[in-house]
Symmetry: C2
Subunit: 345 residues, 2 copies
DNA sequence: TTCGAAATTGTAACCGATTGCATAAATTTT
DNA sequence: AAAATTTATGCAATCGGTTACAATTTCGAA
């Protein structure tokens, strides 16, 4: 049923009248091997169709050349970009990726962490789920000193490196921009405030309100799961509001949500940006397609992925400086488009 | 530096005064082991924090419990959905995924195939790149009888199983719908016709034209890379066309492209659907957000991923029927929204 | 009490690559 | 020419789990 047997270094050794040890060394540029011998080994290996057995190697070396990834969602443009960035860097370095996703649940995140630990990944790159409360599932990694890089959704945790943007600043800029456009009642639609990304954006939002002399109204902070249904619900809720209460600006923490929200407002005869100005978050492709085009925060996922991967590789290479890096902040910036250009009527 | 050493079956054996063989058997419900012994083994394994070493096991078993995936692009909602579907099925079955992506290039696809072969994945799930011409890089899998499931972008290849939708029928329905709406000059914007998905949709398009008594005009078939830039270019080109030549309906093979295209048309004061009706492909979230909402073909990525994974698992389990399955067709259907409701003015 | 089948457990040889240490061969030094 | 290095290669143990086969124990039946 199965094809012919695999070629091993023993086969090569037999053919060349050498020992397996020499073949093993020859295959990997060991300095003690005569250059002519090495060439002979390389050539016959190629001819015989040799492929090294990574299990034997892993077993012996106690190293897997594999990096585990835990993301909270696969079906997201942001996450896809991050993955692409990670893939780019790690593939070059000869590492494989094993990807697990938590579907935003703590339980699945923990189960993925366990699985990856079990598979003995050399390192881990992770972004937390919505409802992750404790970090116990990462303890095995801590104990074995397996490096972890968290990105985007992170947590104060005395282990590992964090790759993030300055969410506080981003939240501030988004809100300040709306205020500068003349908005007086700015709503903020966001998700679970236990997650740093949302908590920090809220802080920035509050700070900007204060700096622009606008009062903070807890009623204007809406927390939901950022789903399509939630966007439609939130929009209808706002359409139903009588004029003095209705916000004239909205800062949403996600472009997809903002797009659906905006669309629903329009269908309810609310004008954007005239009646309500909107700022999103992420700079997904959708922001450029929707009408009016969406002002948003550029959140460079691919670069974040690259940085996270690079940091992990440095730690795996044993660069001590990398080991103690706590946080890496990626540049983000406000991109102004039509959805927020508030010309008061 | 590193944490304490790992627990092995030898450690457990020593503690219990048993042989490693018994422990190995006890750990996996071997029938020859006394049930009380098994319980003792299980309990101490748990207490000691044992985790089995998959390399040792893989080495011995010549099996990796890993499935390789090659996709043409990661940053795509369709692909993300497929991956989510695959993940769902394979994780349940205890398989890991190693993901490689070709960025639509033949070269990287081949290099990924080589890498995954080298890593000895038990099976492969793949979608071809834009410019993949030959399938030589899959030969090693054929020779070793490692199962492959191709999805979406497939090719006539005397090995493996294909999971696809009926692109011909989908192309037909999209075009027929436009024709039924009264469109007389229907353009088709698509990608490399060497890929089955595009070639088949084109056939459906041609067939529908014929059935509706419309003549086929090669000028109206535009082939590009479906990028954002290409969409803008195509839209401007059409805006510039004088009236008799300008199409009154467009069937584009991708929602993202269709959305950008539609948007650009609107900016050029072309009305959609009044002047030009549009049908996309995939039913991405964007189709529901853009204004007017996009008529499209529902292409259930998650289900496709699940089916592909299930088929592969069946083949790995050795079900002979599965081995000979050639093609699995997933249901797809036209979803009619505003972008194509052509009310002639 | 004794014998044989069934039920358990142990022995030891794998799987294939790696590497410290020893050995042998080539080269240089005295 | 003998001794000291340097350079190349081989030996054999190791990584941890698996399994064919052997050995031992158990237990009902004769």
């Amino acid at each position: 049923m199965l094809g012919k047997k695999d070629i091993t270094i023993y086969d090569i050794a037999r053919v060349l009248g050498l020992s397996p040890a020499t073949v093993s060394r020859g295959l990997k540029d060991h300095p003690a091997i005569n250059i002519k011998t090495r060439k002979r080994i390389m050539d016959t290996a190629r001819e015989m169709g040799y492929r090294s057995n990574s299990f034997a190697s892993n077993l012996r070396m106690q190293k897997t050349n594999t990096i585990g990834i835990i993301v909270h969602e696969l079906k997201s443009q942001f996450i896809s970009s991050v993955l692409a960035g990670i893939e780019k860097v790690t593939t070059e370095a000869g590492y494989d990726l094993i990807i697990g996703h938590s579907s935003e649940t703590w339980r699945k995140e923990a189960s993925n962490a366990h699985n990856l630990f079990h598979k003995r990944v050399d390192g881990l790159i992770a972004s937390l789920a919505f409802d992750t409360r404790d970090m116990d599932h990462y303890d095995p990694f801590v104990q074995k000193n397996i490096p972890i890089v968290f990105f985007d959704r992170v947590e104060d945790f005395a282990y590992g490196t964090r790759v993030v943007i300055d969410n506080n600043k981003a939240g501030y800029e988004a809100t300040a921009h709306l205020a500068a456009q003349g908005c007086r009642r700015i709503a903020h639609i966001t998700a679970n405030l236990a997650r740093n990304v949302y908590a920090d954006r809220l802080k920035g939002y509050q700070q900007a309100l204060a700096d622009f002399g606008l009062s903070y109204d807890a009623e204007l902070v809406i927390v939901n799961d950022l789903s399509e249904a939630a966007a439609i619900r939130a929009a209808r809720q706002i359409i139903a509001m009588p004029q003095p209460q209705r916000p004239d600006g909205v800062f949403a923490t996600n472009d997809f949500f903002a797009a659906v929200f905006l669309q629903t407002l329009k269908e309810g005869d609310v004008r954007v940006p005239e009646d309500i100005a909107i700022v999103g978050f992420n700079n997904d492709a959708i922001a450029r397609i929707i009408q009016p085009k969406l002002t948003t925060i550029n959140y460079p996922g691919e670069e974040m992925g690259e940085q996270a991967a690079r940091s992990l590789l440095e730690q795996l290479a044993g660069l001590s400086a990398a080991r103690t890096t706590d946080t890496i902040i990626i540049r983000s910036e406000l991109i102004i488009r039509d959805s927020s250009l508030h010309r008061k009527v």
